[in-house]
Amino acid sequence: MPELSNRERMAIPRHEMPAQAPHERIRNFDEVALGYTWELAREEAERCLQCAKPRCVDGCPVGVLIPQFIRALRMGDMAGAVKTMQEKNNLPAICGRVCPQETQCEANCVLAKKGQAVAIGRLERFVGDFELREHTSRAQPGPPTGRKVAVIGSGPAGLTCAVDLAKLGHKVVIFESLHLPGGVLIYGIPEFRLPKSIIRAELESAVTNLGIEIRTDHVIGNTYTIDELLNEYDAVFMGTGAGLPSFMRIPGVNLNGVMSANEFLTRVNLMKGYRFPEYDTPVKVGRRVAVIGAGNVAMDAARSALRLQHMRSAQDGEPPGEVHIVYRRSRHEVPAREEEFHHAEEEGVIFDFLTNPIAILGNEKGEVCGLRCIRMELGEPDASGRRSPVPIAGSEFEMAMDTVIFALGTSPNPIVFNNAVGLERTRHGTVVADPETGRTLKPGVWAGGDVVTGAATVISAMGAGKRAAADIHRFLSDEKLFNVG
């Protein structure tokens, strides 16, 4: 293809990604977004202006070399695109699917002003998926250093840290409390958004190519304490995430039919509850479901509930029911990824904005039968600059509901802190760690990801895992530091 002029590039419209049609996908758990074809990816890549000072890169928490990988892609050099990507990001197939690109790289794209940012995330996914199929570059462990590192938790933070350390030649063992590794990627984010096969492939490569050992069913804090690990390993990285759910302090939260999004999604994803009774773990959704909150977790819960309703309806012939998202702020403040909001809307999730629950109503059997809410309006901007919602007096009303799912944010998983003397925590329960290095106040212990930041994003967890790996490597390689520590 001849080199296009910038004017010609700007004339190409942003390409949508093919997707399963809404009326079909609500009856299955298969992936919704199907990915670019080669032609679409090439054409989308042609849209990049290759800015001399690319601002998109500043928007990426791990600094992916965006113009370079896009350039390689459009030249047809896929192996080069993969290599460029891997310099900064080991998990492009995952990040391409779950990163909030519209507030990160794509927000900074010069074409974004017209709503026509280069679809960097979709291209990233294309490169990642290519590599999963073609294996152009196999990760290799470095020459053995004789040092051993224990990584606690196998989510994006732990996995990234482990992979980087193994590439540098350190022996890495990952301890995971669940029976399957992957963290939120495996237990939280549903199949229709992030197929499990992708995570399995990434984990397999870590194990077979890099010799990383993964010990599942190990609950650190109980099975071993951090101090016990320190006796055996030269360094410890904590990537234990933030999964402890919170419930609103309103009447009725212990009624049957009220659950956390984590419980609901764990039943559906990790335990494959949508295939009960073939799989043993049941999951129940009522005819009328309210999901409280509007982040990614809420979207995932709402869309999973909707699918279960439609699958049931296909069996019993009854109407599927309704799924509501109840959110106290307005559309403008919705924290979920744009694509998830859009998909949820397309699928028929009903959004009750500026609405806050004040009580869950129960019947005589102790089951949920309704939700009492109050209407809200946006008041003055608060310290964070967001306009805070205030209740409108006298606007209370009730909705019939039989399932209420809380998706309100989470705090760090508690068990790892058992007997962890010297590990300082904030009043939110997160670990105090240097944001640049991941060092905690306990010698020999690093931390990163949601356990430090509170619930955040996959890419920020990966970035933290990477920075910690670099610092752990510095520590393990520096005889002076190492022997003191």
Binding site: P245, N254, K284, I415
Partner: protein
């Protein structure tokens, strides 16, 4: 591999298994539990650690076959292996020298009570144990309990063995005659039994510890599915428990929560039994509607 090294039938619907799980055995203490998955399709089932052997790297589980998963586990034999065993989980029992204590156990609860009674005895307490079951055939470990108790009362609901009646009857007599002497009571058994033990001890003001066995998923504090309503708000049984002050538990709220998946549990049992009888028969129970309440 979490291989079953030994299997023993304790009663009609209760089996004991010694399982290879060195990572659990190394730190296990009385009162803690594990989460076990039978096979790849399995659910995560909490089971109390009834005993452990650090040297051999084994734990002992006592399983009552009630639901699909526990019935399936009951069919597994020595040499078979569980898909997953994670733990130890929960806080261990607080063992101290209290003086005279009562250990009240019903049915399968006798198994987890045994290591607690043993530890209490070793700590120098005068241990009075009351064990009970619906009938004689469901009773086990009388000898073991006797070996760690200073006094032992055995009862059956139908009077087929020991005293006739439920465990709260001798407990109440004990409190009426020796309330000042008894410093603390432990109760493990069916939820309804623990409720009535707590109600029995309450008027006497004797602290009562119960070990709750709610529905769990992860068992590590990540889902809240195990939460128990208490007088002062909910707690997560897997990380805050499993032992709680029985006088603070909202028993009716808890009993109601434990019923939530009853229909699904029945469906799973029926399907499993059907599949076991005729393994080649195509099971249409899959097609019935599992998700509706």
């Amino acid at each position: 591999m979490y291989t079953i090294l030994e299997k023993q039938r304790l009663s009609d619907a209760i089996v004991l298994m010694v399982v290879q799980a060195p990572h659990v055995a190394r730190n296990a203490r009385a009162g803690q539990f594990v989460i076990v998955i039978a096979d790849e399709q399995g659910e995560r089932i909490p089971l109390t650690i009834a005993d452990h052997d650090r040297q051999a790297g084994t734990i002992t589980l006592v399983i009552q076959e009630i639901g699909k998963s526990t019935k399936q586990m009951g069919q597994m034999a020595a040499g078979d292996a569980f898909h997953s065993v994670a733990g130890p989980l929960g806080h261990p029992t607080e063992i101290a020298a209290y003086g005279t204590v009562a250990c009240v156990a019903g049915g399968v609860g006798i198994a987890p009570m045994y290591p607690i009674a043993r530890a209490l005895k070793e700590a120098g307490n005068h241990v009075i144990s009351i064990i009970g079951a619906r009938n004689q055939s469901l009773l086990f470990w009388e000898d073991r309990m006797r070996s760690v108790s200073d006094e032992l009362i055995v009862c059956t609901d139908d009077g087929s063995y020991g005293r006739k009646g439920v465990v709260t009857v001798p407990l109440k007599e004990l409190l009426e005659t020796r309330a000042d002497e008894i410093k603390k009571v432990w109760a493990i058994g069916p939820t309804i039994m623990m409720k009535f033990v707590s109600l029995t001890t309450k008027p006497f003001g004797v602290e009562t510890i119960v070990s709750l066995n709610t529905i769990m998923i992860d068992g590590t504090g990540m889902c809240g599915g195990c939460r128990v309503p208490m007088i002062d708000g909910a707690r997560f049984v897997c990380v805050d428990g499993p032992e709680f002050d029985g006088h603070l538990v909202d028993w009716d709220g808890l009993l109601s929560r434990m019923q939530f998946y009853r229909n699904e549990e029945q469906l799973a049992v029926q399907r499993w039994e059907r599949l076991r009888e005729t393994p080649t028969h195509e099971c249409h129970l899959d097609k019935v509607v599992p998700l509706r309440r």
